[in-house]
């Protein structure tokens, strides 16, 4: 009998916890290569690779991220009763390291990392609870050139990793809150609108604005939210009729940032997006998200967070970003025909030729050819070593010769 009825009641199915993934041979290697390419790009731009733990004290995390994110953490108790959590992102960890160990500079500090993050999300939701993130932090630089560098680097790393059709949406964390200030909304209405925006509920934004006496220019902008996108020209459109200094300053910064991105030669992949909905408590300046038409989720996101480090006692401006390696991997795997597995030569041998076969494998590996030697005599591998050590034959063409000749014949590109 097969099927669900075949299991005795209460029998445990020895499986994985939901939301966690096994990567088998092939996908696992490609995922690692993707990570390597991303990190190599970070390093090529001068970002030093560092590692932080997968566990942090809950207090440390709470200093950095808001309540909603904290409630989605895997939490447990340390042996002294204090609370620990598996990290749900790693920027806070890097901030802790900078504040406690690297506060002497030299600034700007360019740091990068890659590691698992864990989120205790609902079961059977199809969401990952462990995922791989790679990110960069540029600490101690307050100019827009730093923000432009991060945007250009995020795009470069994804493209180096093989992600196609990249699109970067750049917004500003101060634009919408500034707009709400200058619209003359009272605190309650302001909170309502921000909360609705954070929920991405634009119907509720409309409803919240209806009951207020928001000035026309600001109301028009807030209602046009999802369409406030485009090139540099949308900044002029948006600026028309705006009185508040705060949103004006955000628009000016975006204009300067656009010029810097043009100097980085990536504006063909960039949209300005004044309607970008981001975490307003955390970000303080330009923010961005990276998309690809191959994925329904953002592949990366980042922005300026000038107040985070002061929460660790080291007031320093900072900007950075994170790339969701697993989502990138998904979009690449779904797009590509499955690539052929890398070639691994199988070396077989007869009777007293074991040592010779092993010598051949050493020679092949020195030349960078992957090979595995049979553990017992006999068999018909790709390469067959038949006499005491020094002779080989390539099955199929019956060639015989020295091991050097074998290596030369088998190594791709060898003369």
């Amino acid at each position: 009998m097969t099927g669900l009825d075949a299991l005795p009641p209460g029998a445990s199915v020895r499986g994985r916890a939901d939301g966690f993934t096994d990567y088998l041979v092939g996908p696992a290697a490609r995922r690692r290569q993707l990570t390597d390419r991303i990190i190599e790009t970070f390093e090529a731009w001068g970002y030093g690779f560092m590692v932080t733990p997968v566990i942090e004290p809950l207090d440390t995390i709470a200093a950095g991220v808001g309540g909603a994110q904290q409630s989605a953490l895997f939490r447990f108790m340390d042996s002294d009763g204090s609370l620990l959590a598996l990290v749900g992102e790693r920027t806070v960890s890097v901030a802790r390291v900078v504040a406690t160990q690297l506060h002497g500079g030299p600034f700007p500090l360019r740091l990068c990392y890659a590691g698992s993050i864990l989120r205790n999300q609902a079961l059977n939701a199809g969401r990952r609870r462990e995922s791989l993130q790679a990110g960069c932090e540029l600490v101690g630089a307050d100019g827009l050139a730093a923000d432009a560098e991060c945007i250009a680097l995020a795009a470069a790393a994804l493209e180096r990793g093989g992600v196609e059709h990249i699109q970067v949406d750049v917004g500003h964390a101060d634009f919408v809150p500034g707009l709400l200030d200058s619209a003359g909304l009272d605190a309650t209405a302001r909170e309502k609108v921000l909360a609705a925006l954070a929920r991405r509920d634009l119907v509720a934004v409309e409803t919240a604005l209806e009951g207020t006496d928001a000035a026309d220019a600001e109301r028009r902008l807030l209602l046009a939210f999802p369409t406030l996108r485009g090139g540099r020209e949308i900044l002029d459109t948006a600026a028309g009729g705006l009185r508040g200094a705060r949103p004006q300053r955000a628009l000016q910064e975006l204009a300067q940032l656009w010029d810097l991105l043009e100097a980085h030669a990536i504006t063909d992949r960039v949209h300005l997006d004044l309607g970008a909905v981001r975490d307003w408590d955390y970000y303080t300046g330009p923010t961005f998200e990276v998309f690809s038409v191959d994925s329904g989720f953002p592949l990366g996101s980042g922005g300026r967070y000038d107040t985070l480090l002061s929460r660790f006692g080291t007031p320093l401006p900072a900007t950075g970003f994170v790339l969701h390696v697993d989502r990138c991997h998904d979009s690449i795997e779904r797009r590509d025909v499955v690539p052929a597995a890398p070639v691994v030569l199988r070396v077989s041998w007869e009777r007293d030729a074991h040592a010779g076969a092993l010598e051949l494998t050493r020679g092949l590996r020195r030349k960078g050819v992957a090979c595995a030697c049979d553990l017992v005599a006999g068999g018909d591998g790709d390469v067959h070593v038949s006499a005491a050590g020094a002779r080989w034959s390539h099955l199929g063409n019956g060639e015989r010769g020295s091991i050097d000749a074998a290596v030369a014949a088998l190594v791709p590109g060898a003369p």
């Binding site: 929920r199 119907v203 994925s295 329904g296 989720f297």
Partner: protein, 217 residues
């Protein structure tokens, strides 16, 4: 670039959703044709008929770029989508109702309350503001039977006309919310296919506003 995949809610909203798509000039779909196949191509777009509660799942995970779904489904869903437009149809209310002869119906709130509902998330949020000791009993259908059988003291359920409540001897105690159909959009699609989803949103909004006008006239 390929067309959009649009998730439509089966059930009470389905015919109206097809009608609005027709009014908006997006697609003229015969609701009955979805009895034969669940996925229908119209022009470059593909329309799929799914259970209402599955619409936000399809849209969040990128299976579909757009979806039409009742706000009542979104209250219960923790899926992250952009809610772009109120489409006006499918008006109904989420109400707390209790048997006509109960203390609750007489305006007396007991210390503890058993609530039968298909909307457990909404129920918890509704009662969070009132310091009551509530037990939420999640059911999947015919919630009105729960008070009749003694399973629960009251129900939190959707009503359009109030007839089902009255037929089961239940009276409305309080309103928890008003629901209409909404247009929801996948996060990445709003950015990478802004022109396409924007055109759909504008057309549906216009059609919904015209309907409202025609209804008022």
């Amino acid at each position: 670039m390929r067309g959009l995949r649009i998730a439509l809610p089966g059930g009470t909203l389905f015919d109206s959703a097809c009608g609005l798509l027709d009014d908006a000039g997006i697609a003229s779909l015969d609701p009955a044709s979805f009895d034969r196949e669940l996925s229908i191509r119209h022009g470059e777009n593909v329309f799929v008929k799914v259970r209402p509660t599955d619409v936000p799942v399809y849209v969040e995970m990128g299976g579909c770029e757009c979806g039409i779904v009742g706000k009542d489904v979104l209250w219960e869903s923790s899926r992250e989508c952009y809610e772009l437009a109120d489409l006006g149809f499918g008006l109904c209310r989420l109400v707390l109702a209790a048997p006509r002869d109960s203390a609750l119906a007489a305006g007396m709130w007991p210390q503890s309350l058993r609530v039968a509902t298909k909307y457990p998330v909404s129920a918890r949020r509704f009662f969070a503001a009132r310091s009551l000791n509530i037990v939420v009993i999640r059911l999947h259908g015919s919630v009105e039977l729960a008070p009749l059988t003694g399973l629960a003291d009251c129900v939190l359920d959707i009503t359009a006309t109030g007839r089902t409540l009255a037929a089961n001897n239940l009276v409305e105690i309080a309103e928890a919310g008003t629901s209409t159909a909404r247009l929801i959009i996948n996060h990445a699609a709003l950015k990478t296919r802004n022109d396409q989803v924007g055109a759909i949103a504008v057309a549906l909004r216009r059609a919904a506003a015209e309907r409202l006008h025609a209804g008022a006239a």
